[in-house]
């Protein structure tokens, strides 16, 4: 069986796992919750160390030269085990009845204004 997002050689890294329901935005922030890396694989331990400061899956992938699909799978396990968590962003949408629905920062007028002003004032 072939997992479309995980090349063959990576089965070592992801422990043969394939398939997860986690659909992770490559630019979402991940942070470490538990620094103890006992029992983790080398790659997982590397990720836990990197996440001591907020970092995105895209950056983890580039830093460790592990493809994004494999990073996603490793993160799914680390989240399950409580080693790392996603920094939730946005506020509950007022439009949606679903309380778990969060609005994107890109729809937040205040954040857009902060972003625009921040860009204009950016020191180059």
């Amino acid at each position: 069986m072939i997992d479309p997002d995980v090349p063959d050689g990576l089965y070592m890294i992801v422990g043969g796992r394939s398939g997860t329901s986690l659909r992770l935005d490559p630019f979402t922030l991940v942070v470490t919750e538990r620094s103890d890396t006992t029992g983790l694989t080398l790659e997982q331990a590397d990720i836990v160390r990197l996440c001591e400061r907020p970092i995105t899956p895209a950056e983890i992938s580039a830093c460790l030269t592990i493809p994004l699909g494999a990073v996603t799978i490793l993160l799914a396990d680390l989240i399950d085990q409580g080693h790392v968590s996603l920094r939730s962003v946005g506020r509950p949408t007022r439009r949606s009845a679903d309380p778990s629905a969060f609005s994107s920062p890109a729809d937040d007028r205040q954040l857009l204004e902060k972003l625009r002003v921040g860009l204009i004032n950016l020191a180059l």
Binding site: D3, D5, D25, P26, P54, I55, A58, L64, E113
Partner: protein
């Protein structure tokens, strides 16, 4: 750990709100140059193994043994806007076929800068087509190589690429951080304007 990791500059611990902007356009139009001109980190590259898009079969990590896979790399940079907001700029070519990664990348993005080169109409059309289909707010930025800015007025470019009157069109030398900063701010302004219109329509 790899070499890239040693030079990686971590974000401030206070960073909580990631925002993102897509930079797209034809091959060699200056996407990587634009990201590098303004990014606070040396642009990074990440590889994603992905499925070749078939008719509605691309569902991320689901098992699909019958599908062919290709590796696609995209590069990205980062700007810390304030203590909380961090802006990611990612460059992706416009001519690839639609797939789950593109969707995941574009979801929740502020919008896109479509870089166009007047010597490459085909690449420009492909990128415009792509952002239209992704339903992303975008602006068009002409990156003038050589004397292309003298050869083509913005009005002529708008007409030849069939850019909607409501879509901002400007010139932007991808190598110039000040021009890149201006283009990014103009895109955010465009998104704000669209939200205002939406609100007024309700």
């Amino acid at each position: 750990m790899s070499h890239q990791d040693r030079v990686y500059q971590p974000l401030a611990a206070s960073a909580t709100i990631p925002m993102k902007i897509l930079v797209t356009g034809g091959f060699g139009v200056g996407k990587t140059t634009l990201v590098g001109a303004i990014s606070e980190i040396t642009p990074l590259t990440t590889e994603a193994e992905m499925t070749q898009a078939g008719a509605g079969v691309d569902e991320g990590l689901e098992l699909r043994p019958d599908k062919t896979t290709t590796t696609v790399a995209f590069d990205f940079g980062r700007i810390s806007i304030d203590e909380q907001i961090v802006l990611y700029l990612f460059g992706a070519p416009g001519q690839e076929r639609f797939h789950a990664l593109w969707e995941r990348l574009c979801q929740g993005a502020v919008g896109a800068i479509v870089l166009v080169d007047t010597r490459d109409a085909e690449g420009s059309f492909a990128a415009l087509d792509r952002v239209e289909r992704a339903k992303l707010p975008y602006l068009v930025a002409h990156n003038p190589f050589g004397d292309e800015a003298e050869r083509w007025s913005l009005e002529e470019i708008r007409a030849s690429l069939d850019v909607d009157p409501g879509t901002p069109l400007l010139r932007c030398d991808a190598r110039d951080p000040a021009q890149v900063r201006e283009a990014l701010a103009a895109l955010v302004q465009h998104r704000q304007n669209l939200l205002e219109q939406e609100g007024a329509d309700e």
